[in-house]
Symmetry: C2
Subunit: 89 residues, 2 copies
């Protein structure tokens, strides 16, 4: 979906600038987390996901496929469907 809406713009902008926008959205998400406003939070989560998907499009990575291939219903470290890794991470 993000490819259809934004790929034309994103490809012109390039990966470095798109990454910078993603980082700004991450900062805005951090602010929304501190403020604890549910609507603002939903907005910022949507923006981060949108920019992440845009960046993936620019570098030709299938975001959903990459995530499913690494995390397909289990933790890639302990291999459990409910992660049992030590809590440090």
């Amino acid at each position: 979906m993000m490819r259809r809406i934004y790929f034309h713009h994103d490809s012109l902008r390039g990966k470095a600038k798109t990454y910078e926008w993603l980082k700004e959205e991450i900062d805005e998400l951090g602010e929304a987390l501190r403020e604890n406003d549910k609507t603002a939070l939903e907005n910022e989560f949507a923006d981060v996901l949108a920019w992440l998907a845009s960046l993936a499009n620019v570098v030709n990575v299938d975001l959903e496929k990459a995530a499913l291939s690494k995390y397909g219903n289990k933790c890639p470290k302990c291999r459990k469907t409910r992660c049992e890794c030590p809590l440090s991470k």
Copy 2:
């Protein structure tokens, strides 16, 4: 899916620490972008999405619903299915 695998851990970790991990993953994604290694890139995109989903779970936001509600097949600013906003963003 991320809720099933990680919610137990994530809820113990809390939102501030989960956000810090997300930021670290964003930095690692930045490194992978500079190195241009496709496998590393896919890995890092998967990690960022996983931590973003984890963080959304911790603060009880439905990530997919939030994104679809804001970006449901069109740019939220210009309302076009292929964004026609000026290129500054």
